[in-house]
Symmetry: C2
């Protein structure tokens, strides 16, 4: 594959114009949108307006006049089509971790005859930690975490399992779990499923409703480009909303928050999953960032994501000097999310050298480099230039010279 | 009291210059900083820098280069002197509601022989709701809420009470509880105390350490001027930090979050009270807003707060036509926070009419108007003009004409 073919791919890309809606840093190839999404241009004026006009000038009146009070629902409804959810099932609030706690309690209550929360050993740690925290609180008679390898999920589904907690796309390897199949198998055993969409919302075509998913969480700061620490979201299938009660029963989840009644009465819809006062500034940023998605077809996102990764892989594998980079992601594109992970004994040094040369990838302990592909703003030319830079770094041994200067401070 | 005397008070006010650090709306007298604080001028450039430079340009590298990772601690340490806390005890994270859940669980675990959480009937509802949610989750054998009137707190302290949950300043009446006395009385009965500082942090001289407080929460968006839905904070006395474990055990509370270990190991310090990824944009706004406090003496804040309220009260009470406004706040200044509440059978209409005439106060169901005094930016002239406007509205009956046009949508 040569540079002309790469340019032809960019020319044929139906999403190519989307890149213009982002403020990308100069002289940088950003392949880390799976950790923190890039800045949509519309955000800058929006945040200035929210701060100066809505907060500074209109002050408390903005709860009504700028409808701050409905922000969590409004933002949730913008996320819904991106994850295949019909209306009334998604709300924006808190963090993934806090939202997982709400859903774990809800699901365990629905399945109160059972105690096991089944998850995978290499799930993103916070998912496992939240189960451990709940298990310590309730005791093992009510909640216990069982961790298995990803390939052992299916055979571990049995009638002792109350909740299956899975991240659709593995944060290290990018391995993509089959949501439709696993949800169906779990339901056959009476198991409720919580899907963590951190690495899939905005990265591929998620179909929560079609898969008859029960619950999901996801974050705003990766592929949804909502900014660092952007609020997260919760999905609760309509059929479960009347039956459950989540324990983080803050005033915003009350059926009538402004009645200031001392008795909690949960809202009977998705509003119940709110807890405290919404984070208006951060949520408004996400709100603006989500406008980029209005005319986007998620199948186009997936198609381009696969192409970007396939081209990257082809360029890497066609280059002898990069053979020490061992693919940790699945070989088949349909089994991957929107990233490629490689192990290398000098992964950390290579990653730092790449960043120094303007190619931003990221490192995950102990020895993995991740390259994320964000179809909205990653071009095929980016992929070409990233591999060229990587080749230069490895061929020249530049990364070895650098390694002694590096402070190990990784996020 | 005449207008010249009012102007003299402003001239003698050592905090008068602080008002210049805020962007206050024109033609508005803002007496609702107890609900949403005004915009500090420094915030506008800060948020633009965080969005454009830190996020937009530096992207993922900012976790290190702009030290996002330490924001919760950095902001916590800026709040600490405002609430009388020595270092290492305050962290910024989540909302008051979520933080109350962490503290309630922590306190109940420390006092595991007991089950009662004692609070007041007219505590801010979310505080009560969070106890109710926890009680539903754990069952009444482990947690039960007992609500009493404020005046009955002392006589309700007994050996069955595990946790005393109090808001220092009542959100409706502004009644100020005696933190030193109540904490001491509670400790004598083996009760742990959680103080909600929503209406006191930044409004008066809070002395958590001196009172030997156990735990506290507070919000960033009232007197701390951190913007709508600004993140909250948690205080945990040093002596309790080693003994407790809070159940919302997200990855940011782990002793080594970036080791990505599947087993949760709580940080042994205040960091444990973090849960998910911090809300960088909102927290940076609060960070900038807190710089206003650097050279502020909290005793000066309290002195001015009392004076503002006393002048307001004197002007109201000296005006015959305002005699239908009945003071719901304590008569004695030392028993009040930084607000005055009045009941009136037409409270809602009067409040709306005031807002229409540029005086922003707020309404609390069923019949209360609250006027908040924020010593950093409320002037004595504001107080004078507010009472003049109120007098005109009541004398003219203007508020009665308005009442039929008002949509009941209050926050």
């Amino acid at each position: 594959m040569n540079f002309d073919e790469i340019i032809a791919l960019d020319k044929a890309d139906p999403l190519a114009q989307k890149r213009l809606e982002f403020d990308l840093p100069v002289n940088t190839i950003y392949l880390d949108g799976n950790s923190l999404g890039a800045l949509p241009k519309s955000v800058k004026s929006k945040v200035a307006e929210v701060v100066s006009q809505q907060w500074g000038n209109d002050l408390i009146k903005s709860w009504n006049s700028h409808n701050w009070i409905d922000l969590p629902i409004r933002v949730g409804e913008k996320i819904a089509p991106i994850i295949g959810a019909a209306k009334g099932q998604v709300i924006c609030c808190d963090s993934i971790s806090v939202n997982l706690f709400k859903l774990l309690c809800s699901a365990l209550t629905l399945n109160s005859e059972r105690t096991v929360v089944l998850s995978t050993k290499d799930n993103f740690p916070t998912d496992l930690y939240m189960v451990q925290g709940l298990s310590d609180l309730l005791g093992p008679d009510l909640c216990q975490l069982q961790m298995v390898e990803e390939q052992d999920i299916e055979q571990s589904l049995n009638e002792s399992v109350a909740v299956l907690l899975l991240t659709q796309v593995n944060f290290r390897t990018g391995n993509l779990l089959d949501m439709a199949k696993l949800t169906k198998l779990a339901h056959e055993k009476g198991i409720l499923v919580i899907w963590d969409l951190a690495h899939s919302a905005g990265a591929l075509s998620v179909e929560l409703d079609k898969c008859e998913a029960d619950f999901a969480v996801g974050c705003g700061y990766k592929y949804l480009n909502g900014g660092p620490g952007s609020p997260a979201f919760v999905y609760v299938a309509k059929r479960h909303q009347y039956a459950i009660k989540q324990p983080l029963s803050g005033w915003m989840g009350h059926s009538k928050p402004f009645a200031f009644n001392p008795e909690y009465q949960a809202a009977s819809n998705i509003n119940q999953f709110q807890c405290g006062t919404p984070s208006v500034i951060s949520m408004s940023v996400l709100d603006a960032a989500l406008d980029v998605w209005q005319d986007v077809d998620m199948l186009q996102i997936r198609t381009k994501s696969v192409e970007l990764a396939e081209v990257f892989l082809q360029l890497i594998q066609g280059n002898e000097c990069l053979h020490d980079l061992l693919l940790c992601s699945p070989k088949l594109a349909e089994q991957r999310g929107s990233q490629l992970a490689f192990s290398h004994h000098d992964a950390f040094a290579i990653c730092q050298a790449l960043i120094e040369k303007g190619v931003v990838a990221d490192f995950r302990a102990p020895n993995i480099i991740r390259f994320g592909f964000t179809p909205l703003y990653t071009s095929f030319e980016d992929v070409w230039r990233a591999v060229t830079t990587l080749t230069n770094i490895v061929e020249s041994g530049f990364y070895k010279e650098q390694r002694f200067n590096i402070t190990l401070k990784v996020t």
